[in-house]
Every structure is written in C-alpha cells, then in structure tokens.
C-alpha cells in the first residue's frame, strides 16, 4: 500500500482547511501557560500531559496526525506499509539534525524505540510488544517488523508516545538521571533555552530546522501560573496570547470567548479524545449487579452536565466507544435520562439503601460540581451516595487499591480502540497498583476474545465486526458509566495564525503558528 498518494491528499485537504491564503510572516515570541508545571521536560522520562505539551515542540517522532488522525510526515518524510500489515518502512529526512548539531539517523530511531522507550515508557512498551524487530538497513531507513498485524501501529508515532531520543547522549547511561536531562536535546522546531522553576519555561527558534522556513515564531514562553483565575486575568491583560485546552475553568470560557480579538477552537484534541467515565466497582456491593449499573446510567442527566458545566461542548457518549474512535457502533440505543426506569431497576434487584461511596476526581472546580450533580441524580432515584473527597495522591491510591464504589476518571482514547479503549475492559488488565487499567474489575471472556481478535485482525473491515459485537455486550453490561466525551476549547488571539493544525493540538502546534501583527 503506497502512502504517497494519501499523503498528497492530506496535504491538499490541509491547505484547503486552513486556507493559507496569506503568506506566513516570521517573528515574534508567543506567550502561553502550562498547567500544572511539569516535573521535567524530557519527552521520554515523563509521560504526563504538561511534559508532552512542552516537549512536543522540542522532540519529534516520525509522524504527526491531522485532525482526522491521518498520518502526516515529520521526521519520516515518507513511509510504506506492506500488504499483510506486518512491515512498516520509514524513510527519514536526510538533513535533520539534533539541537547540538549531530545528524539524526536511523540509529537514533532504533535506539529510541528498541532500547530507550522499551525501558522508559509503559504505554509505548505495550505497543512495542507487537514488534518483532526494528532494523536500519541504511542511515535513513528504518523497518519495523511486527509479530502480528496491529492496525493502530501507524498511530503510535506521535511525539508523546514515540519521541526520538538522541542515541549519542543517552546510550549506556542511566536515562532517568543523565545530566543531559537538564538541557533537552531534540530535533524539533524549538530549542530549550531556560527554565525558571515556578515561573517560566522558554524555548527559542531552531534556526537549523530541517523544514525550510519553519518555524515562524522566534520563541515560546510557557508561563507557570498555578491559579485558574490568575491565568484568565493574564489572558485578559494581554500577557498571554494562548490559553491551551483545560487551562482555565469552564465557567470562564464563555466570558473569555467574547473578548475582543479572541478566537476559539475545539480542534486539536482528536488524538487524545478525553472520555470521562465513572468507574463502578464490579467486584462487590450493589455495583456488582448489572441492574444497579444500568440504573446509574438511567439516573444520570448527562445533557444537563454538558450544557451547564461544559458550556455545551463535548458529546454525550452512546456507550464504550467515543465518536472520535474508529469502529463506533452507532446502532446502539442511548441511555436516556430516565429516573423512573432507574427506580424500577433498583426495585427489581432489591437495593435497600446500602451506602455507595463516590470518589470525585480532584482536577478542579468543574469536576467537583460534576460529582455534586451525580450525587444529586443518584439520590433522586433513591441511591444513598456519600461523596468522599480526596487529593490526587489519595485518589490514585484508592483507585489502585480498588477502594471505592463509584469513581470519576477520564481517559485518552489515542485514536484506536486497541490503544485507548480495550485497556479498560479486558480482564488481563486487572491488576492492583494502577488507576488506569481495568480498575472496575470487569470480566467477560467473550469481550476479552473479541478485543484480542480485533487488535490483530487485518484489514479494518474485520476489526469492525469484532468491535461492534464487543460494544453490544459492553452496552448491556455497563462495566463503567460513560459520562461525556469532553470538549476542551483552546482560546487564542485571532492574530495568531495556524495555531492548531493537527489532531495533537498545541503539543506540536507551534511549529506552523505565526503572528499576523
């Protein structure tokens, strides 16, 4: 399957979408915020969201993805996938260099994927478990040979998931404590300049970037402002040009959107597609009963929450697969807000007012309000809910130890069910110690089998059959509550052009951005 044609179409559609009518101009330093302050900005060492946001502009992977999640060239200028879906060949940019001047070659790719990331990144390690060998036939070609077909493999070459790390710096060192971690060296459009802890992270333009003319900006300042209201003020008084997704409270969004010279986009989240869910402990108590879990779904007024707490952004999900994930089965009947039906189900199962412990997620005011709404919804159908507030540490610990009845969470879907969805439902993923695996303790052999088959089936048509059947079962058994596919808008000054051009948003977005001032 030759990818060059798709590539040409992608570029054409991009050009149409973003209407590059005006010639981009160089110059200007952009000011934005990073929240919370990342623990470090080495892409391979830390995998949390703020690290990826900053490091995505310093480090690169082989590909990027547009807002429909079609692959775009990055460090790989071209690529091919064999007919059987087992061999992926990448052709690298020949004049790409590291920020310290060393050339970037296929050896770096092999080192990064086969050595560095296998050790450092648990999510990437899982993906790479499908890979049999990674070879470099010449300096600018890399061949991944898979053990089995793995459809979503082409989606794994994103800067946060598969960042390229310099072999000449890290080989045979302790990756976590290497001195070079104080000064990141990547191949990206921006170079690390300074990090004034608690204040600002500064990146400057990479003058030797291998893509001619890019980037346009002279630099990026990521300000650290820990309070959401202060971040809003910083935007209002002009200090900040861009408010990234999730950086101000939802309640402030409508007001800020109305300010002069303010544009808003909900794009740039497609790769992650955050999906808010309610863990329901399938192991014990009333939540172990399917009817109770269905009753919860009927009791929740999800439209109300979307309209009141999320400014009408986002989608009320049908069931386990979000609308951005491939293979969604949209023939399933949605769970409507139906308190009467919820009460019937509770009567039927003989629920007698046992206390249900609800664990909110401590991610700010919107989430606290949301927990209050859920508590009210559930109390109205007669469920005796007590909310148990925790901080981040407590929340992680209690989920990892399965110490809850109902608990909020939200998960990234990473564009493919095998990357972002199956992990929540397959029984091999039941293990204490992590708040991100099959925390609810759901076990269904058929579902396990279907997810297994679907991940390695080829081509997509076959995967779809398996996934549709899995969704039917999940829809009926409600292992978790499906709350909302979140919509996080990015706010920015309208004279910042081409800010969000990919499905990864700001994480690799500043490369194309420019000031029309």
């Amino acid at each position: 399957m030759k990818k060059t044609l798709t590539l040409a179409i992608t570029i054409a559609s991009l050009a149409a979408t973003y209407a590059w009518a005006e010639e981009p101009r160089s110059g200007g330093v952009i000011n934005t915020v990073i929240q919370p302050e990342p623990p470090g900005i080495i892409a391979g060492v830390h995998q949390n969201a703020p690290t990826q946001t900053v490091s995505g502009n310093i480090y690169e992977s082989l590909l990027r993805y547009d807002t429909d999640l079609n692959p775009m060239p990055q460090l790989a200028r071209d690529w091919t996938v064999s007919e059987d879906g087992l061999t992926y060949t990448f052709y690298l940019h020949e004049d790409a260099t590291w920020h310290d001047g060393e050339p970037f070659t296929s050896a770096d790719v092999v080192f990064s994927t086969d050595v560095y990331l296998r050790e450092m990144n648990p999510r990437t390690r899982t993906i790479l478990s499908h890979v049999k060998s990674i070879e470099a036939p010449d300096d600018h070609t890399v061949v991944f040979t898979l053990k089995n077909a793995f459809g979503p493999f082409i989606l794994a070459f994103e800067a946060g998931t598969m960042p390229m790390m310099p072999k000449h710096i890290y080989e045979n060192t302790d990756f976590r404590t290497n001195e070079a971690n104080n000064h990141p060296i990547g191949t990206g459009p921006f170079k690390f300049e300074s990090w004034d802890r608690g204040r600002v992270i500064k990146l400057v333009k990479n003058e030797d970037y291998y893509e001619e003319g890019l980037p346009y900006l002279d630099g990026i300042n990521w300000h650290v402002i820990p309070d959401a209201s202060s971040r809003a003020v910083a935007y209002e008084n002009g200090t900040i040009d861009v408010l990234p997704a999730n950086s101000v409270e939802n309640f402030d969004i409508p007001r800020l959107s109305k300010l002069d010279n303010t544009c808003r986009t909900e794009q740039g989240q497609e790769y992650f597609s955050p999906f808010a869910m309610l863990w329901m402990n399938n192991r014990e108590g009333p939540t172990a009963d399917k009817r109770f879990r269905q009753a919860v779904m009927y009791a929740l007024d999800r439209e109300f929450v979307r309209d009141v707490l999320w400014n009408g952004l986002g989608k009320v999900p049908l069931s386990s697969f979000g609308s951005n994930a491939s293979f969604q089965n949209d023939s399933l009947p949605p769970y409507e807000h139906d308190p009467e039906r919820a009460r019937e189900l509770l009567d039927e199962m003989g629920y007698e007012g046992e206390e249900i412990r609800l664990l909110p997620i401590p991610y700010g005011e919107t989430w606290v309000r949301w927990a209050e709404a859920v508590q009210q919804n559930l109390q109205e159908v007669g469920i005796n809910v007590s909310t148990q507030s925790t901080d981040i540490g407590g929340w992680n610990q209690r989920l990892a130890e399965w110490d809850y009845d109902l608990a909020f969470t939200y998960l990234f879907q990473y564009g493919d069910p095998a990357l972002g969805i199956s992990r929540t439902y397959i029984s091999s993923n039941i293990a204490k110690g992590s708040p991100w695996n099959n925390v609810e303790g759901y076990k269904n052999e058929r579902v396990d089998e279907l997810f297994d088959l679907a991940a390695t089936a080829y081509p997509d048509k076959k995967r779809e059959e398996y996934y549709h059947e899995a969704q039917e079962i999940l829809h009926d058994e409600v292992p978790v509550g499906w709350l909302l596919e979140l919509g996080f808008p990015t706010l920015y000054r309208c004279d910042v052009k081409n800010l969000v051009t990919t499905g990864i948003g700001l994480n690799d977005g500043f490369k194309n951005a420019w000031f029309d001032r």
């Binding site: 005011e365 007590s386 909310t387 507030s389 901080d391």
Partner: protein
Amino acid sequence: MNFFARFAQNRGALVGLIILTTIILMAITAPLFFPESPWRMLQRPFLTPFEVDGFPMGTDTMGRNVAAGLMHGAWVSLLIGLVSTTVALLIGLPLGAIAGYYGGLLDDALMRFTEFFQTIPSFALAIVLVAIMQPSVTSIVLAIALVSWPPVARLVRAEFMSLRNREYVEAARLVGQGNTTIILRQILPNAMSPIIVLASLMVATAILLESSLSFLGLGDPNVMSWGYMIGAARTVIRQAWWLSFFPGLAILLTVLALNLVGEGLDDALNPKLSRERS
C-alpha cells in the same frame, strides 16, 4: 452592677449578640424554611437575586438555591468554629497555665511540646492533617483544633508568667493558698480577658480556616458550609458576584458579631476597665 448590665452597657456587644442570635436562629430554622436539601438543583443556574420568587439570593452554578445554602451552611460553619475552638481551648488552657505558673523544667517540657506543634506553620499542618485523614467534617474540625491550641497555650503561659510575680499573687501565697487555688482564683480571672478575646477570634479563625481549606479543594463535599460556598463561587466571581458575596457577608457578620460579643464579655468580666471607659 451585675454581669448582664455591664455587658449591655457596651452597645456594640448588644448588636453583636443580636447578630449572633439571628445567625443561630437561621441555623436552627433552616429545615423549616428550606426543607429540601440545599444541594438540590431546582432552577436555572446563575439566576440573579430576586429574579425568580423563592430565590431571594439567586441560584448558583448548578441551579441550587443560595438562600437555602446560606441557612443550612450557618449550622455547619458555626459548628466547625465552636467545636474546634472548644477542643483547642481544652488542650491549650491547662498546658499554658501549668507551664506559666510552675515554670522551670515543667515549663520547658511543655513549651518544647507546644513548640513542636508550632514548628510547622499551622495552615500547612492543617493541610497535611486533612490530606492524611482525607477531607470530612471530622477531619477538618480535628485539624483546625490541633493547629489552634498552641497559641492558646503560649498566650496563657505568657500571661501567667507575667502575673505570677504580681503583688496580689505573692500576697495569696503568703496567706497560704494552694497552687491550684492561686491558679484558678487569682491568676486565671486576671488572665481571662485576653483569653476570651482570643477564643472569640479563634471561632472566627476556624470559620475562615475551613473556607481556606475549601478554597484549596480540601473541604467536606457532603455538607454545605459557607466556606464551601465561597470556594465554589470563586471561579465564577466575575460572572456571579452574589455567589461569593452572600456567604462572604455571612462570614464577615459572624466574625464581627463574635468579636463584638467578645469585647462585651471582656468589659463584663473586667469591671475595672469598663468603669473607666464609661
């Protein structure tokens, strides 16, 4: 003059007493006026005050009745303030009195113990305690009490140290009064006025402390306190001033009333001073 007459001479104290009584009445009668849970989402969110009948203070971010929250919250806030202050006084008073009166090694030991609790800044310690016990009314009250008693102990000690060598104490000692009698009869009454002032301030501080904990996301999510209401309204302060204004005013009035009453008590308990003033 009897106690009440002296108290009533201070007009401010009377006003304070009236406000405080009103707030206590609010707390008691809340279930009569608003039998429904203050958490119920009853109307459109962000109704301005008096926009709709039955919602004199409007609705909050979730369409809940602010007036109902305010009245139910009075109970929670007062309770947190009073209980934690009582616990703090029960710990701090005896420790401070013993340390200040006896001095020497005992003083040293007790003061090291007090210092021990004070070496972590109290707000920081409160946060840590709530984080360990995880937020709930009990853990918040306990945390506030545990960080509030050392000032009591130190103030009492300082007063006792300064008073124990006074002439009238020496006189009492000469006529053969026991230590306990001297502490309770001679020194304590004379040390009482700053302690009362401090205690009335502490109730207020506890209410403020609880609101600060709520601000940082460490409040109890099951009870509606004024602190919670301000904490929750903080993010929408630009759109809906009334959400933080009314509970803020309630805290302000309560703290004000507590202080005025404290002053009145001070006057009533310290007749020499009040005679001079009037």
